[in-house]
């Protein structure tokens, strides 16, 4: 039995968690839901030892525990998996699996042969098709997350904390996680699960706790709580069913066209994008979608192929050339590729347009810059104390909005989005959809890779499904449905296309 009583945590004047008490019996998968900033992550971080509560107590199997660090929590039987991976990318799969307790020989050297055999056994037992000697950084994100999960499970914890741990998983990988959690439940583990996908909560959790503004709003059996009711509890408003903006398609001239792009990850991809069009890229994780976007932006080398931006060829693209040609790219790993974490919100927003700011003898006019920053923060509804706040202080969803604004300010004609809503809460997602839709209405062509088929269905005008570095299906208009995207992602073609073939 895990019992939290009267947990408090505040940062300055902000109460991140206020007097939360909850219990989870063995065999429980407890879902924590709530908007960004509702306190789910703070709560889980307190249990995991990553942060220490200001007040309140944690009891595990009748004993009071105070996890002081993640390592201490592990010793207490509490293992955690966060959205931000904690694997060392430079090391191999097996080195990561046995980072703290590798099998050693009598003279203390690590017993590599045994490590290999145990790692192989673990990977096989968990049905994970990766090589034990593969470098973790070379694995697709979904596989890395699976590895992280089984590493936590292999520590045989009493309590397993999963904070957005399924955010990078593709559909089949989510099935895998479902099976794993069922097994753990039967073994009597206690699991706390945070996800922004309500369907995953329904599928995995037998109980659900709804948080809002740091307070516990409700605890219920999952099947007793409807989606509408949950949304009402999370937002404090009655559920607005229309989560997606109007799909107004005003398609103009061709903005971007690519012919037969090839590289080590792309096997001949051709794309046409019109102005004002939102083109979705779907499919399983790691089928070349991200590489395609990076290829347009010059961050992924091509061995052959041609790219035209409007009428002009974009030869040997580099990020600088791509920006000049009017492209903007919002990457998936915002912390490593997109944002300077130790700089302020304002500095990040104006980074890409520094050379367009009005200057006085080479010094940027400060009022001008401040004005731009204020407008950008207002447009995307970034929750921040102001342009001077450090980006690292913002929540994930708000960081994502800053990143989006950074590129929108550059007034691109083509916007490339790489899974930008990953790990972002429902409310923020909605705001991001609005921003994307309004940008497209202004005539910008958008190519948007998303691992969430539902949002492609909701927002994109046309969807290309990719498999193995090729476009396996193109869906337009009414053809864009979740079923067809998933089918094409797994089978490599749509049901209809098979009939024609």
């Amino acid at each position: 039995m895990l019992r939290l009583s009267d947990i408090h945590k505040s940062y300055g004047a902000t109460h991140a968690v206020r007097s939360v008490s909850l219990e989870a019996a063995p065999g429980t998968v407890l879902g924590l839901v709530g908007e960004n900033g509702a306190g789910k992550s703070t709560l889980i971080k307190i249990v995991s030892g990553a942060i220490v509560a200001d007040g309140g107590g944690i009891e595990l199997d009748g004993q009071a525990v105070v996890p002081r660090s993640t390592r201490h929590a592990l010793a207490l039987g509490i293992a955690s998996v966060f959205q931000e991976l904690t694997l060392v990318r430079e090391l191999s799969v097996e080195q990561n699996l046995f980072l703290t307790d590798p099998p050693v020989r009598p003279w203390l050297s690590i017993d590599r042969r045994r490590r290999r055999s145990v790692a192989t056994e673990i990977l096989a037992r968990h049905d994970l098709d990766i090589a034990p000697d593969a470098r973790v950084g070379d694995l697709p994100l979904g596989r890395q997350q699976m590895l992280e999960i089984i590493r936590a499970v292999e520590r045989k914890p009493r309590v397993l904390l999963l904070d957005e741990a399924s955010s990078a998983l593709a559909a089949t990988e989510v099935d895998w996680l479902a099976a794993l959690l069922t097994k753990l439940r039967q073994q009597g583990s206690i699991i706390l699960f945070i996800s922004h996908r309500w369907d995953e909560i329904v599928r995995f959790c037998n109980r659900v706790a709804v948080l809002r503004n740091g307070e516990l709003m409700a605890m219920a059996e999952t099947d007793k709580l409807s989606e509408a009711e949950a949304v009402r509890l999370m937002t404090g408003q009655s559920g607005t069913d229309e989560a997606f903006p109007n799909k107004v398609a005003v398609h103009g001239d061709v903005a971007l066209s690519a012919r037969e792009l090839r590289s080590d990850q792309l096997a001949g991809v051709s794309v046409d994008l019109r102005r004002g069009e939102i083109l979705g890229l779907g499919g399983l994780v790691g089928q070349g979608q991200g590489h395609l976007l990076e290829a347009f932006f010059g961050a992924h080398g091509l061995s052959s192929g041609a790219i035209l931006v409007g009428e002009l060829p974009l030869d040997r693209p580099t990020p600088r050339r791509a920006i000049r040609a009017g492209l903007a790219y919002v990457p998936q790993e915002r912390k490593t590729e997109g944002l300077l974490l130790l700089k302020s919100v304002g500095q990040n927003i104006t980074l890409a347009i520094l050379d367009r700011l009005r200057t006085l003898l080479g010094v940027i006019e400060p009022r001008d810059e401040a004005d731009l920053i204020r407008k950008a923060i207002a447009r995307a509804k970034v929750r921040t104390r102001g342009g001077g706040e450090l980006v690292s202080n913002l929540s994930g969803g708000n960081q994502q909005k800053v990143l989006l604004e950074k590129w929108l300010l550059a007034k691109p004609s083509i916007l490339l989005l790489n899974d930008v809503t990953r790990g972002v809460d429902v409310g923020t997602k909605r705001q991001i959809y609005e921003v994307i839709a309004s940008i497209a209405r202004e005539g910008v062509g958008v190519i948007w890779y998303s691992t969430d088929a539902r949002e492609l269905v909701g927002v994109a005008h046309r969807v290309l499904v990719m498999l193995g570095g090729r476009v396996s299906a193109e869906l337009t208009g009414a053809e864009v449905t979740e079923d067809r995207i998933v089918h094409a992602a797994v089978m490599g073609s749509t049901p209809q296309a098979e009939v024609h073939a």
Partner: protein
């Protein structure tokens, strides 16, 4: 494929060995002979650099750097030269203990206060330079010749030097093969991830600096043994050379990778360059200039190597 695979494998992982072999051949051609005495001189000189470089290597693996290792060697050699003639046991133990403590101090300052390693060790470098001059203001003291015969061999016997060089490389290789070594690499790869995975990051880093101090002190003892006396400034030349040897051995300064034997090879390369220049009758004024060029060449050749590999793959 196999036709290019073979030379690629040879070159790829033994790059520093090939550079060394070329330099050695040049040296033999220049001198016209290569005697046991030459081999001994090479090994003994390389041994001193290799020990400090191996210490540096452990610290670089954590993405740190240690500028105080050279002066630590000076102090330890000076202490040994003063004490050992009167009290052999103390003469061996005191420098070792000093190395451990000096390294521990660096580690605690870096980890405990959280100052950047380059600042901390810049300060301790200066401190130990001063301490060495206090202990032994002028070169002096004495290390009985018995120790020379025992630890590095007589003038014409290269074996002890050669074996010691390999042995120290082997010992550090063993250290790296343990859990500590894996954790060291993990920290160099991604410190936060290592911490979140349950690695005792602070402890491992302090241990790395402590072992670095120990290895540097042993390097200083070898210096005193080979000179049969102490000198308060003998280690100064190793402050940056120890970093150079690590890089020449092919270890990237971003941490996490490389092998101890490659570091030993790096020490050999820098040492043989010195004698090569001597026999080529190049003024010693140019030594530093040429060392720099070699450093650029070797560090750059890693880039060139990757470039060539890329071409071959296409």
């Amino acid at each position: 494929m196999s036709a290019i695979a073979v030379p690629r494998r040879l070159i790829g992982d033994r790059w520093s060995a090939i550079v060394f072999a070329v330099l050695l051949t040049l040296l033999i051609l220049l001198k016209g002979r290569f005697t046991a005495f030459d081999l001994r001189s090479l090994c003994v000189a390389a041994l001193q650099l290799a020990l400090i470089a191996l210490g540096q290597y452990l610290i670089i693996l954590t993405r740190g750097i240690d500028l105080s290792l050279g002066p630590i060697a000076s102090v330890s050699g000076a202490v040994m030269a003063i004490v050992i003639a009167g009290n052999p046991a103390l003469g061996l133990m005191l420098p070792v203990a000093f190395g451990l403590c000096a390294g521990l101090l660096n580690g605690v300052l870096v980890v405990g206060i959280g100052l950047p390693p380059i600042i901390v060790t810049l300060a301790t470098m200066s401190i130990w330079q001063g301490a060495a001059l206090m202990v032994l203001p002028d070169p002096g003291g004495s290390v009985p010749s018995f120790y020379q015969a025992f630890f590095i061999g007589g003038f014409s016997s290269p074996y002890i030097g050669l074996v010691s060089l390999l042995a120290w490389g082997g010992i550090v290789s063993w250290v790296l093969s343990t859990r500590f070594g894996l954790n060291l690499r993990a920290i160099g790869g991604d410190e936060l991830a290592a911490e979140m995975s349950g690695v005792r990051v602070r402890g491992v880093k302090i241990t790395a600096y402590t072992l670095g101090g120990l290895l540097a002190a042993i390097g200083g003892m070898y210096m005193a043994i080979s000179m049969s006396s102490g000198s308060p400034t003998v280690g100064d030349g190793y402050i940056l050379t120890s970093i150079a040897a690590v890089v020449v051995g092919g270890v990237p300064l971003v941490g996490g990778r490389g092998s101890p034997l490659a570091v030993v090879m790096g020490a050999l390369i820098l040492t043989i360059t010195a004698s090569l220049l001597f026999f080529a009758e190049v003024s010693s004024f140019y030594q530093s200039l040429i060392d720099g060029c070699i450093l650029l060449l070797v560090a750059g050749s890693a880039g060139a190597r990757d470039f060539i590999r890329g071409l071959v793959r296409k």
